[in-house]
């Protein structure tokens, strides 16, 4: 830009003004934000990403989006899509160039249509998870992907979120019956796949293209989701396994006794438990007066069946099962107190942040690899960087692990991004190469994971993903994530 002549530069901004005016004409009076202050929430990511936007577009229906996309394709204006902007990989915020338009879906939230008999719901992409669940609740239903944040449905699909109960309900992909998207080619074409069908084998399932692709393949405008019946009873326990191998024995024992009810199986290291007890008011060590254990597992059984009809108390059944395992597999347990135990679990991230600079991981692997991986990774950290505090927790039930560490303020070395980068590579190498796992279990790619994508995804998969992206977005106007090979960017 510095080299641009004054005349060209004036011509350029005049043209830009025309573009913005043309886009504004497609929207209502609250449809375009230009003021830097007003734009700030849209250019700052929930965890990473802090850029600049040419403008923020806030359409209220899918036809406006089709118009925006058609115009942007003609004028070659790049877009980044944003739902509730709760993602953790900077996929929904613009880069620093200031050339990108933010296309916010937050005002696309007219429709929430529940079909109780079909257990399905038609929703606009901007509807938030909380709004959706509020609308489902009177029907005794809910959308079972539960997360700490309150994302939009479109964002949840684009990120294919999982949540703490994936082992019982699956991820978003498993509960997506229909989808509507606006395509970039032909520009602005509507792809309407809004069916509410559990069985429909009439060719390629095109909606899958838009799941987990961070808005790089098209603009999701609406969806049909499968709803589930609200739990009528739950049983919760925090259990201390005898050792690490016993965690998997415990998981298998619970799947043997309660395969349909096991809703969560969350490992929490003693370091995390200890941090919660020290930093979070009103939450103590639940095992007191005994000391914080080395490791524990939060278990939840749930059933949406009426306890009378089932004739079973999950808490009694869980207690009996744990008693059976006592000594051999587990050495301590707190049963009940569900609210308190989940509060503890959800406080882990906040408590760990209080311990120093967090080095976060969002990995997964076959469940059978979790014990070996954890042992090896602990050894690796200890031998290389003994001052780092591993504070890990994870969704053992679905193979997920947050092998997080903290760089304490009182470490012998100041925080060093190069050391962290090298360590991150070493851990990812273990996960992906040795244990056939994933370097991004839940959070997606986005700019934050772009380099790891190129490092760990096979060349053939990158080639095909890039071809798909070029097919769906030939001008590469959409999103900030590139799924092709690095050299093709």
């Amino acid at each position: 830009m510095a080299a641009m002549s004054k005349q060209l530069s004036e011509q350029f901004s005049e043209q830009l003004g025309e573009h913005l005016a043309a886009l504004a004409a497609l929207l209502d009076e609250r449809g375009m934000l230009l003021d830097a202050e007003e734009c700030r929430p849209y250019v700052t990511g929930a965890r990473y990403g802090n850029g600049q936007a040419l403008a923020v577009l806030r359409p209220t229906d899918a036809n406006q989006i089709a118009g925006i996309v058609a115009y942007c394709a003609k004028a070659r204006l790049p877009l980044v899509l944003q739902g509730a902007n709760t993602g953790l990989v900077a996929a929904s915020t613009p880069d620093a160039s200031g050339n990108l338009l933010v296309l916010s879906l937050e005002r696309l939230r007219k429709t929430i249509e529940v079909d109780a008999v079909n257990r399905s719901v038609l929703v606009d992409a901007g509807v938030t998870l909380q709004e959706l669940n509020d609308a489902l609740e009177p029907h005794g239903l809910f959308f079972p992907i539960d997360l700490g944040a309150n994302p939009s449905i479109g964002g949840m699909i684009a990120a294919n979120t999982g949540g703490a109960r994936l082992i019982k309900y699956g991820d978003v992909r498993h509960n997506l019956l229909g989808l509507q998207a606006v395509l970039l080619d032909p520009p602005g074409q509507m792809l309407d796949l809004l069916q509410a069908l559990r069985k429909n084998n009439t060719g390629p399932d095109l909606k899958q293209l838009f799941v987990g692709t961070s808005g790089a393949y098209g603009v999701i405008t609406a969806a049909v989701l499968q709803a589930h019946r609200l739990p009528q009873q739950t049983a919760t326990a925090l259990v201390v396994p005898r050792d690490q191998a016993a965690v998997l024995q415990l998981l298998q024992a619970l799947e043997q006794d309660f395969p349909e009810f096991l809703a969560a199986f969350e490992g929490i290291s003693g370091a995390c438990l200890d941090a919660v007890a020290r930093h979070i008011p009103d939450i103590g060590n639940p095992f007191a007066p005994e000391p914080v254990p080395e490791y524990c597992v939060l278990i939840e059984l749930s059933s949406a069946g009426s306890p009378q009809a089932m004739g079973v108390s999950l808490e009694d059944a869980l207690t009996a099962c744990l008693e059976k395992l006592f000594g051999d597999v587990i050495v301590n347990a707190v049963v009940g107190r569900g609210k308190e135990l989940w509060r503890l679990r959800h406080a882990v991230s906040e408590a760990v942040r209080q311990e120093g600079k967090v080095i976060a991981f969002d990995i997964s692997m076959p469940r059978s690899a979790l014990v070996a991986f954890r042992g090896e990774a602990l050894g690796l950290v200890d031998s290389r960087h003994p001052w780092l505090k591993v504070m890990d927790f994870g969704h053992w039930g679905d193979g997920g692990a947050h092998f997080n560490m903290v760089w304490p303020a009182d470490a012998p070395l100041a925080y060093d991004a190069v050391i962290v980068g090298t360590l991150r590579h070493a851990i990812y190498d273990l996960v992906v190469v040795k244990y056939h796992g994933s370097f991004s279990a839940e959070h997606g790619i986005g700019p934050y994971n772009q380099a790891y994508y190129h490092r760990y995804i096979s060349a053939s998969a990158q080639q095909l993903s890039g071809k798909l992206q070029n097919l769906l977005d030939p001008q590469r106007l959409l999103g900030v994530t590139w799924f092709g090979e690095e050299g093709e960017r």
Copy 2:
């Protein structure tokens, strides 16, 4: 061919001979079949399709397949893929031209690797469902897509089969963790996505391209599947609802009481029940001495949990639930006799065939539409063609319906394909246009449903599906199904 000069024709067959020799060189001595008798099982479909093959290729590993694909791409030889050849839409058999090679995956069945802790299994594409379940059984596991046939795993993925217990376990797509495929472009490239992960958000989920696309997008060579624990107790009942509306009330009542256990909810019309009682030895009317009811529903609850741990008898609970519904929702019920009742259910197709020429439907819709659709469709048939006997049954739990009819031998008119075609269109119009359902719930497209695909799938979806097919198979060498627009074929 008739117009081809003798010289050209000789040159052509000489070249063909070279091609076959080159392909044979990639295979072992049992790897290529040329003899018409030996080829017959490979060119005849399970229900439709009766063609001719240039040769049948029977590779034993994925590398041989890569070699075959590379050679065929260079020589422009078209291929049709075949697993166990149990599909019902002629998608796995060659057309009549005699120009297609059949690429049979039946010998690709070395690997069945069970990971019991991860509840997953790595299998070669040619492994059959039965072989897989035999290998899973010692681990207390099974693959829960149960079908009348014994398909290969690759074929099940290519068809995205559902089965009678979809309501509890989902379809193949829901239980597919990883996949390996040989691509047509670059010719013979291996796409290895063989992960055993429940959570992995690292870009587009490429394996979805190969699910439900009848082998038109690539050659599936291996997969990782999620296994489930084998049921430890089941409860079965055949129930007579008060009327059609009561069928959905019954479904909702069961989902309210037993949401995690409801494994099957299969509607059977009185006409089907009556045909089974008359044609199938040793199966009578289960409600005798009362007459065959107008409609009944086969219910199965199942749990993989040990009855002791759960402390619940599903049969007792089901009985109590049905007693509660008696009078208001249901008017008769047989509880227990699971084996006998499922035998009855599985005998329906055979019994209906004995009644005359079958006009079969494989449709689905939102469950909330099933009653209205059935009423309207019965009226339509009765008003237009009163001699046709509707003998319908269906998977009400997942919205599936086999609205089958029989053209009896003693009808006033002889069977007339034009009348049947017109009626089929009218029923499909009802299903797809009025009730937002699907004209092919389980069986897929294939040549048999090709015309309906073009009629009912939106232009934008056909365009995108065709672009994908051209991207994945630029020379259009693979399969016999075309997912693009009719004019682009």
